[in-house]
Assembly symmetry: C2
Amino acid sequence: MLTYTFKKDSGISLYEQLYRHIKEDILSGKLKAGEKLPSKRALSGHLEVSVITVKNAYDQLVAEGYIYGIEKRGYYVSNMERPLSASPAACVIQEADEPTWFLDFVTNSISAEYFPFTAWAKLMRRTILEQDKALLYAAPYNGAAALRNAIADYLHQFRGMTVSPEQIIVGAGTEFLYNLLLQLLGRDKVYAVEDPGYSKITKIYESNGVALQQIELDENGLSALQLRQKNADVVHISPSHHYPTGIVMPITRRQELLRWASEGEDRYILEDDYDSEFRFVGRPIPTLFSVDENEHVIYLNTFSKTIAPSIRISYMVLPPHLLHKFRQNLSFYSCTVSSFEQYTLASFLSQGRYEQHLNRMKNRYRQKRDKVIKLIQEGDLSRRSEIMEQDAGLHFLVRLDTDLSDRGLQERAKQNGLRLALLSDYYSRPECAPPHILVVNYSGIELDKLSEGLRRLANILEEKEDVR
Amino acid sequence: MLTYTFKKDSGISLYEQLYRHIKEDILSGKLKAGEKLPSKRALSGHLEVSVITVKNAYDQLVAEGYIYGIEKRGYYVSNMERPLSASPAACVIQEADEPTWFLDFVTNSISAEYFPFTAWAKLMRRTILEQDKALLYAAPYNGAAALRNAIADYLHQFRGMTVSPEQIIVGAGTEFLYNLLLQLLGRDKVYAVEDPGYSKITKIYESNGVALQQIELDENGLSALQLRQKNADVVHISPSHHYPTGIVMPITRRQELLRWASEGEDRYILEDDYDSEFRFVGRPIPTLFSVDENEHVIYLNTFSKTIAPSIRISYMVLPPHLLHKFRQNLSFYSCTVSSFEQYTLASFLSQGRYEQHLNRMKNRYRQKRDKVIKLIQEGDLSRRSEIMEQDAGLHFLVRLDTDLSDRGLQERAKQNGLRLALLSDYYSRPECAPPHILVVNYSGIELDKLSEGLRRLANILEEKEDVR
């Protein structure tokens, strides 16, 4: 009969030791397929363990399929096809380290020191206290009502948009919402994006394998003519403030686009209003959504850019007929944002904290932008640069005077610890871009390093392209 | 010249009033396309407002494209194609109200009273304090390192899985991860799901428009034979504990599946280990992932089911070559879970709180299940029912004795305030399902209403189908 020894102080229960022994014998082939195992009582007596220990071990082996029981006859070894072995130690390629930059002109990080962390933390604590167990229940698919109400109020007051909270769908980031929109509008459509534009959007469409057209911009942004030529169905734009050119689409263009959309039942404009909060001059530009009369515009915005990148809360506003379709086809998806953060943000909005925060941010960013521009104008770089556009929210453009190619420039900058984004980086065909235009994302720039960083850049500009 | 009156106490700045007046005149056609506007100085004198007020109004109109400026000549009205009007009041269909149930056997809600809310709230507060501004920075695409480390430790200790934290990708819910997996594995693949099965998974595949095969289960679950017959490339299974049948896939089947997967380079098994924490008998079943030697298994699990549905944190474990592919193709996606919740959960895991919580939950659910079963066995329903499977985690199956059809049964139950799930609800072809099998999701059932609910159900069972 099966004979095993048991360890007393191993911390492993007797039943588990027995289970392991038998399993080992099955895997090694010592116990053959179809072989009958001793009865529970017999093995219990033989090994001097309780019947329940044997029972538990057999049950586990049955549950995992190593043995099987036949009523009134007993237990038999299963037909194992090949011995199993432990998983090989995971051989994982380590991720390449990001280089550490002396100065990073690319990452548009919200400066953490600007965020009213104390107020936010207070709201978080109050949310824990007040919402209590409500935090344990999932929000509805479209987001917590409190948050959708607060967003609708905000849109009404600050974007002049009249929307019902029902039209708002909350999700964990705009990228996630785009994945939903592809499912809502259909993968059989031709999607169009701005060129130059935000490359992540292109990546999302490509990664989802839908037909994609790049639409070249002129000085007023995207034109409906090109949409027609390229048979686009759905176009993704940022009319209030295009990144990285900073173009504000004029009203005539907007009307052209709306007319284009109204000409086809399945034509839609995805209006990404990202960054519109940080326009520094004049009133905010009315949204396309609010002038659209034919339910062809979907409005999107995010709090990740204005509060903190770790706050993954975005939303979209659907026109009524699409809302209806969303409920029918996509409301099975659970809301991706935790209730806790939704309630916290709802309070932040409804108590006017968000407005305060935006105003404070606008002032600070304006000051920061002015300082960055002043340092550029005062240093060595000034002789070799021209600031092109100062009204473009959290970034501006600088034309550089150099003989280097854009790639050569970036490569040398990298060797000097500088991370640069150039306008050509945002073109689907970089060779078609105007060269040497630096996109300065200034919000994350450390001012105390800037003079040195600009000095390095000025030196690089004087270099010549290697003849390789 | 343009003549407007201004309101003094309207709270609207002069420049904005002027902007609105001119815009209105353009939209109404009073000011015609191409018409020249008065110079800023002239209009300022005429209206008795400052030049800067006129300048701001003109700038805003230029920014929005209503007028345009020509250097050294002045400002002209743009060519408006049609008058814009305010967006029509959003006409939104209100969402239908969910019926209120007397007793709900369907929703498998985690009982909020079981959750260690005080401990969790404490950890939340500590996270606010300790992480401070780190909370404002976005986690990397794959999740915060602290959380991935904690998950890797947990998997090692409680699931016997040796994985590197690098292999773990954190996301806001399993549904979101499935959307990523479709992009990772490719939409050109044939996906296969278990039939019966969890309908949400089917919906996700359908909504993403990929080829989908339903694979019928036998008493041991899904078989590789059918995968071959249906030319499946990727199969989605819950081998540790299938919902709703409760089948635990025996080791022979698992080996069959692994062999099937190893025969094709692009064949993958998505192992959804959801609910495996609540097996009440014996040791947990080893995962397919841990016995796979050929990198063909992707492991998925979630904390939404074990902690609270509002905690939208799931994760998947990728084999090394897929991790490599993920980094190349999909790491541009931002992590969908807020840093705050990731840090809180990481502490909850690494302080052993999660283990404690699971043990407590298991005990409480076992007790609750026993009470529910006892009430079924003691009441009127006992004569017309047979409890089929008691080991299936958070639900069990009851065979009902009735002449009613499944739909008739559900309809009558609804009229009596009872929400029932029947096994046939989980079949792609309900007519092929064994009838009258009730799926009792007991975790959310209110015990004090249960006797009355069961009495109502017993009465319904005696009814005859209407002859309509």
